[in-house]
Assembly symmetry: C2
Homo-oligomer: 205 residues x 2
Amino acid sequence: MEFSSALLETAVAEFAKLPGIGKKTALRLVLHLLKQEAEDVQHFSDVVSRMRTEIRFCQRCHNVADADICSICANSMRKQDVICVVENIRDVIALESTQQYNGTYHVLGGVISPLDGIGPSQLNIDTLIQRTQKEGTAEVIFALSPTIQGDTTIYYIQKKVSPATKVTTISRGIAFGGELEYADEMTLARSLQNRLPVENYVSSR
Amino acid sequence: MEFSSALLETAVAEFAKLPGIGKKTALRLVLHLLKQEAEDVQHFSDVVSRMRTEIRFCQRCHNVADADICSICANSMRKQDVICVVENIRDVIALESTQQYNGTYHVLGGVISPLDGIGPSQLNIDTLIQRTQKEGTAEVIFALSPTIQGDTTIYYIQKKVSPATKVTTISRGIAFGGELEYADEMTLARSLQNRLPVENYVSSR
């Protein structure tokens, strides 16, 4: 594309770097912003900048946070001795949207995948093991995507958590090979309610 | 969606205001930015902010510009006495991409559409008429979307331009009801080369 303004060209190039945004869509977004009030665009720009510099990650569960500890870990109304283990932040948001869960989370940052070079040391697994040991965790609920990598991760972790901790997974309401974040809220809520002990889960495969 | 960070929530809400971006896509974009280097995100933020405050519109043709006059109007290698009339900036970019046009542009900012309350006074039509009279324009080429509104706009303007000016439209290579910006470059290039006098065009409808 040919532009008569270098500023426009740079802005389009920046938007086109975002995932799923091509050059035509980027141009559409930029021209949209160009038509908005200057202060609204400044607000957009400030929010993006602040978000990147000020968002922190919870030291306990690795979820996004505005402080050292996230609002879920800091909430004394939630069961602090129940930990739901998820792959990423999007999964936390998906589970919170069901409004069926009243415990805490632990964000692994992915699942064990030797083919992609992702081993246990690249994930937040050590901190999870320590949590179960130090905090006297009553239950660890695995809410990982139902893939071989997810199952491997469950198997690896369940052997290491404190023996006093009950280990469960959300039930197989979700289609095999599906991605957790795209499940509808009802399916996710059911699978939280009907969670199974890990022994049953592994033997049923 | 429930967020454990107010900063994250605000950023997602800002992205979701953009056209064609829903909440899930907004979240994906924000989490992508969160993973990028801080300086890259700052650059993105700065570019958006500068783009809105520093981009100007050419005083002659109303195209985007980095100065009072756009680079196309300021280019003495282009035919300054040929004006291609388009609806918006996206159309200028689409026509420039054909690399077949060596004249100037005039961006109307839309087409006459009484049902939407858009009359000639809301568009950059007066400045176009003045250009043809003051500059001794040799040719005005209409490159408007082939809709009733586009035709109405052509009809309205062609009666007012200087009688010494030849008036043409790009040829009907573009499907009726289609949008100019989505035409492929070959079709656009052909329709520029095979432009028709307006009398022929109106009588062929």
